[in-house]
């Protein structure tokens, strides 16, 4: 599906609005859109909505051998997918430049900032470690994917619980959630990305650009920071030149936004934990607002299955009973048999047609096939192959055999009767069996 292009009028309109410090959705320049976090029923699963941008995150784990150069560290794997659902321009199985760039940023934000303690993921040094895998799926693209992805990623990692393990000697036991409570990952800090879009060569600046704004921006600055005001990653793209003050201003804004978002994340995590502890309802179903008219819920409904047996029985008895078996297999040669009739197989007709041909060809001295294959079992008594003489094979009365003596001029021996009996001999190689065909 093709991406919808942005018209020139739209482009001009947005840029003009930005010059007048107005945004399409009514936000101020430094305003962040609403962030909403909802958790799934599984651990390590969440959906983060940043305005209309929506990202699904899922963390999973697996026991694997560690990398040889880091035998005591767990393995982290991050993968962001741009689902074709998110925007019409995204195609499955393609790696557009944007995706590569985003994945690099996620790597830098979550891996290189060392926010996850990888050493705590080691089970047996050099043998078994946990591999933590974070899958991020963009579900709806309304700009600023990276911020939403970084929030979703860190929330999912904080929410995730891996199975507890114990090591006794060489035995590694993995406990089910029923046996032992799963363990959370040890997370040192929460890096969060904040994006700034620049317009008119850096004159105007917007926080958290929407998709439309992104499509007209000149450059983008992404700063990843944790709540301790430590910058984890900073990246400017789009080829604009920024003044030092601008970068500093951005980092100050980032600090404020990160503090707000971190608070929100912590609140959301606490809330979810509380609900789970108290045995309340949780999962995506709870995150659907009841008052929305586009949403509808139905409580568990009973289906009357009282007399399904009778009804099913009725259908079966009404149907015709299984018919008698008609088809009788016809055995051609050991290992080959046939049932049914009707449409002729384009491979199968060779036996008959070649027989006909053979009649025509009688007398011509053309070579038709090499034949000096050993023939097993019952045929060996009459069929023998000798080295320097033409090979003679003939026990079956009606079988025609053509032999090529490879050294000299081709000779052939053919014995044939015109009877059309079913072949009893087994011809090993040249497939000239005759079939008794029902059609005749």
């Amino acid at each position: 599906m093709k991406a919808t292009p942005l018209s020139n009028c739209e482009r001009r309109f947005i840029l003009r609005a930005i010059e007048e410090r107005k945004r399409l959705d009514g936000r101020q320049c430094y305003d962040y859109r609403n962030v909403r976090i909802s958790f799934g029923a599984d651990y390590g699963c969440c959906i983060v909505e940043l305005g209309k941008t929506r990202i699904l995150a899922q963390v999973s784990c697996e026991l694997v051998p560690p990398k040889p150069n880091r035998p005591t560290e767990g393995i982290l794997f991050f993968n962001l997918e741009l689902s074709p659902m998110a925007a019409p321009g995204f195609e499955p199985g393609r790696q557009p430049e944007l995706l590569v760039k985003l994945n690099r940023l996620i790597e830098r934000c979550l891996r290189n900032s060392k926010c996850i303690d990888t050493e705590s993921l080691c089970v047996v040094a050099g043998e078994k470690v946990w591999q933590i895998r974070l899958d991020l799926h963009l579900l709806n693209h309304d700009g600023n994917i990276i911020d939403a992805a970084s929030i979703a990623g860190i929330v999912a990692l904080c929410h995730f619980r891996r199975p507890d393990v114990s090591v006794q000697g060489e035995e590694v036991t993995v406990y089910t959630p029923e046996e032992r409570d799963p363990v959370p990952l040890s997370i040192h800090h929460m890096p969060i990305c904040v994006s700034f879009a620049f317009f008119q060569q850096g004159t105007y600046l917007l926080v958290d650009p929407s998709e439309r704004e992104e499509s007209v921006m000149d450059g983008l600055l992404v700063i990843a920071m944790n709540k301790h005001r430590e910058i984890c990653t900073i990246q400017s793209s789009g080829g604009i030149m920024l003044v030092k003050d601008q970068v500093l201003r951005c980092s100050k804004i980032t600090a404020v936004k990160v503090a707000e978002i971190t608070d929100l994340i912590q609140k959301a995590l606490e809330n979810d934990q509380k609900v789970r502890k108290e045995g309340g309802k949780f999962g995506f179903a709870e995150s659907i607002p009841n008052q929305k008219i586009t949403a509808f819920k139905m409580e568990s409904a009973t289906v009357d299955t009282n007399n399904v047996e009778e009804q099913a029985e009725e259908i079966i008895t009404k149907a015709d009973p299984p018919s008698e078996v008609f088809a009788k297999p016809i055995l051609h040669t050991p290992g080959t048999a046939q049932i049914g009739e009707g449409m002729e197989n384009s491979w199968g007709d060779l036996e008959e047609s070649e027989k006909e041909e053979a009649v025509e060809e009688e007398g011509e001295s053309e070579v038709t096939a090499f034949e000096c294959e050993k023939i097993e079992t019952e045929d060996t008594s009459t069929m023998r192959e000798t080295k320097d003489e033409p090979i003679v094979l003939s026990d079956s009365e009606e079988e025609e055999v053509v032999i090529l003596e490879p050294q000299e001029l081709p000779k052939k021996t053919r014995t044939q009767t015109s009877s059309k009996q079913e072949t009893t001999s087994k011809k090993a190689f040249n497939k000239r069996r005759k079939k008794k065909r029902a059609a005749h």
């Binding site: 997918e81 899958d135 995506f284």
Partner: protein, 225 residues
Amino acid sequence: MAEEEEEKMAAAGGGCCLRPFSCEQGLLSRPDGSAAFLQGDTSVLAGLYGPAEVKGSKELPDRAALEVLLRPKVGLPGVVERSREQLLRQTCEAVLLGALHPRTAVTLVLQVLSDAGSLLSCCLNAACMGLLDAGLPLSSLFCGVTCALDPNGAIVLDPTTRQEQEARAVLTFAIDSTERKVLTATTKGSCSVEEMQQCLVAAQRAADTIFQFYRDSVRRKYSKS
């Protein structure tokens, strides 16, 4: 939470009871139609684009070219997803009046949000709600129902993951809304002919409930417009 569900079901009289359903339509801003469908803790999100311009090689002269993509939550789609995509596509094709939009493309993307049993039927329901939300012309609706046969041979409708694992056989049907006929059937495990027919009858009855749910949610959506 699985146990809770089961307890509740036991209270509600045997296994013949559907888990709580919820559905939200039009929740995504980019797609032309979208719907999230939840059956208990199983949830699937559907997003649909189209009818839109089609790439040359995929173009069909007499109808819309429907593409269904099923995205698993972890990892990349594999052979299982590809075979389910085919099944879902052919189910949607059977009801979609594609001939009204020749030489166009319709793309339906299904994203698994969580799997707690009866995933395929949830995919079918999400797909149908997505088609509805996009306002595409359909000859009928369809719904997905999963039935499990527990070790005693009793029918369990809309089973959870654990019920599916314990079951002897799990059958999933897509039932159409006009005559309650079978659009799609797929089975796991083996069962007798009688059991299959019983499950089918049960699924047809469950379909009535689900279609009522469809009707109510669509009515609610259009209640204020």
